[in-house]
Symmetry: C2
Subunit: 265 residues, 2 copies
Amino acid sequence: MDFVKETSERGVTERDFELKVDSELVPGVLWTPENADGTRPTVLIGHGGTQHKRVPNVVALARRLVRHLGYAAVALDAPGHGDRVTDPEAAERSRQALQSRIAGGTGGARGDRQFSPEEAKAWTERTRSGVREWRALVDELSSVPGLDEGPFGYWGVSMGTAIGLPFVSQEPRIAAAVLGLAGLNNRPGGDDFEKAARALTPPILFLFQWDDELMTRESGIALFDAIGSTEKTMHVNPGGHVQMPLFERDAVEAFFRRHLGVANQ
Amino acid sequence: MDFVKETSERGVTERDFELKVDSELVPGVLWTPENADGTRPTVLIGHGGTQHKRVPNVVALARRLVRHLGYAAVALDAPGHGDRVTDPEAAERSRQALQSRIAGGTGGARGDRQFSPEEAKAWTERTRSGVREWRALVDELSSVPGLDEGPFGYWGVSMGTAIGLPFVSQEPRIAAAVLGLAGLNNRPGGDDFEKAARALTPPILFLFQWDDELMTRESGIALFDAIGSTEKTMHVNPGGHVQMPLFERDAVEAFFRRHLGVANQ
């Protein structure tokens, strides 16, 4: 974990880093309280599809966790995302395709996306790499003074759940996770995904949008139902995939505070 | 609203009162901050079936709202409940019948309760009287110094929703409500209940138990779906009718704080 840049703003120190995983350098950001001493919980934040590690909702959540709870927060660019985009035109086409699926999504069509064999292969590989990178990050954090003892939490919806759910399911060091905007539908590797959901054990807050253009209500309920954790809560709000109410951020903060405690400054 | 008794404990003043509605005296409790001055929001708390105005979860919620937010809270004995029980043996039989429905409830049988014509008539009359009494209470509160300007909120699950949902639906002075543990099923007056749900406009927090022995998941989802309010959120947790996790009390507090604001002490 090589820190390459550091800035501080209103009590929050932000450090860019590169994490070596196999032969690749994965760019990330670590947020901590300015002049932090003592120990603190860390929340890993997984961004959504076509987004990147510094997208506004990721930064807003990170700063809130630092300022309100004294936590550390950390984000990575997912495989093929952010600074890891190798073909900007293809990335832009993906972004537009996602936007048009959201714009065109209506009841009947929801959750019916078909994947070409290439798309399915890319999705599966991205998930596998993403899981491996999060695990490497927790390994690294375990030697960062003040963060090394955890506890660790995870937050990620949509693609952040596609990658994060299997990660959390395999990673006993994650003590609590916020997932959502995902369902049990015709996703590539769907059987493995469902199996991972059933194997989950930490407390889960599952956020779902009632009118999500990308999936049916039934698929979201089926995923919540499959989650194996004894403590799990589903929050359902009206509105589409990108219309989650801001007050759910308060619920996320309360959830992490309950399970990860507060910083020992 | 005649106050008949007053005690204070750890910052909370509790006053018993009797509210005259038509020819009946309805017993209630008002909780306020000790030595309260200034103005404050008030939350009306409707207890569950076979319970009464001073059942532990009602008192706990009232004290929390007073201590954490500086609110007032008020509860009434529902028609035929608490101090208004006229036939203690029949009330005890009802309580035992409810307990055995909860104990014996399993997937297939959920929501299939059949009502005799007498039970259906009693349910409908209780709802009508309960709604009238809450409305009379808000009329009264509107002349209690410090509470007179509201805003007013409502909390009630199970029977607290059976009575409270139609009440809130008809009462524009209620600015936000917590409902739950109820569904669109074969309840007496079900059509009116659904109509009232569709007519709701204030923000609603709808609490539901995923393994509720008294109703199906589908009936709860159908009720959430029917709620007409633009802002509505459903919280789903595993467990039975009386197993709602205590952390939902934090969510209730955050919900009221968001919509009713804080006291002006």
